[in-house]
Amino acid sequence: MSLLTLENVHSYYGRIHALKGISIEINQGEIVTLIGANGAGKSTTLRTISGILHPKQGRVLLKEQDISHMEPHNIVAAGIGHVPEGRGIFPNLTVKENMEIGAFTLNDNAEIARRMDHAVTLFPRLKERISQKGGTLSGGEQQMLAIARGLMLQPSVLMLDEPSMGLAPVLVELIFDIIKQLNEQGTTILLVEQNALMALSIAHRGYVLQTGEIVISDTAANLKQNETVQHAYLGVE
């Protein structure tokens, strides 16, 4: 049985029909990636799961529970974390406060401190900047902070929207290592990445989105070999 299921989901921005009946299944312990051109609906899919958007039609299920109409904070409490596109750092909170607020649903201060220590060992740069305002960090540092903040929650499903955006190659690798590690420790991952090749190299399975519809769904290994995918998303001639 799948952990997170989208059944024929339709989402709209006003009158713009952004998701046109997509179905996705993510099993416990998997890394699943969404691939698609700009504007295909990848971020919209994540927003629909995390409750920022509610589907007009279709359902989102966490195990057997219908979460389609739950509010985002309840979905977070149910164990789904979302590191949004464009980082979403609170510019006037300090780095430390940004991280603390990532664990807002947690009340155990000692545990919050422990997680924060862990997160800053992964990104030592954040430790140097710990009392600086989030808005004064460089783009790449903000991206690190966004991921570190996402880790604070320790959700059972972590959704990452373009986590490597704006990062130097070394850091991109670090992020992918972290994702793999998290997954090995039991976190289920839904990954959206511009860098489709890297995403497919750590994912178990993937879905290809095109203008709001799923056109291909397969294992990561097969997707890498798929000619259409190679052509359109992997830059293979």
Binding site: I52, P72, H73, G88, F90, L93, E100, I101, F104, T105
Partner: protein
Amino acid sequence: MKRFSETINVRELLRPIGQMIAFSLGGGAVLSLVVVLLALLLDQTAVGQNLQARYSVSLVTYTLANLPQVLIDGLTIGFVYAAIALGYTMVYGVLEFINFAHSEIFAVGAFVGVEILIALKNAGILSAASLGVAYLILLLALLAGMTASGFLAVAVERIAYRPLRGAPRLVPLISAIGVSFFLQDIIRLVESLTTGQFNRIIPTFGNFDERLIFGQLPLGATTVVLGVQIKSLIVILVAVIMLVGLNYLVNATKIGKAIRAVAQDRPTASLMGIDVNRIISITFLIGGTLGGAAGVLYALKFTRIDPFVGFFPGLKAFTAAVLGGIGNLTGALLGGIVLGLLETFAGAFMSAFTMGAAGAEYKDIFAFGILILVLIFRPNGLMGENVSQKA
């Protein structure tokens, strides 16, 4: 065991106190200096002679003699403005919306507090009260006003603003103006049905009207009595405690962090597991509570209230919030104190300095003239920026 300073963020308690002292002393000193210099300059001119002829006192003596009382009065009303201004600024910081009904939330607080005191008076409890009990009763009236206004503000948001959250900005603004009229009429209706009149006077009890005298200053022919009315001290003290508490809540607690996060980025805040609607309700609760307390304090200081009692203090406090930089908590504090001092100085000295041409009734023109000047040079107000920012 944790050290005290680790569990309680002492810095966040001391910082606002320091700011209030700085703003009060700074504002008071600047304005005092200006009027004293003006008095010295004009003493020998027609202005001074005019005053001499009217009251047979020199302009300098007149100015110095009035100064202590003017400072106290200015600070008293300034702190009331600051407490109301924080309600406007909190809500603006989180929703970017001016809650025009806040002046009536203030008025409801005043009425609830005063009605409770009147009821206690009619029951004979007030006159029998010892001094300690009198203070307890005042505290009770304050808490009642705060509770009523706090919950009213939450209800108003829930009923009149939340359904309009996605609508264009003007729509909730109109709704707020509607709520404002509605509440005014409700107060009028309730008061006329239950008491047959609109005006209520706060009963005299305790020692609140007495003056504490610190000393006397001989000044030429006259002596200046240095004293302060006990109720002015109470107003300032209560306001200071509330302002420090609010500052601590916003800057040093988990709820405060959530309020600031919601103010900065609502969707992302919800992705952190923050219940955005609950935080917005809490924001209105805090603003309303402060407004209600300000209402009771205002009634204590100025004794008479009517259903329109919120209009001018509300407008002034809104002005104070804008003057300080709307959305900025420290700004509201600064704006309130500065505006309170400015208008009290204007009210006290304009007549003397204009040879009676422009009396105290023109004080608002003067105060608002200054406001416009400030805003021309600092369009974002004295402190700029907004609530989301840690002060």
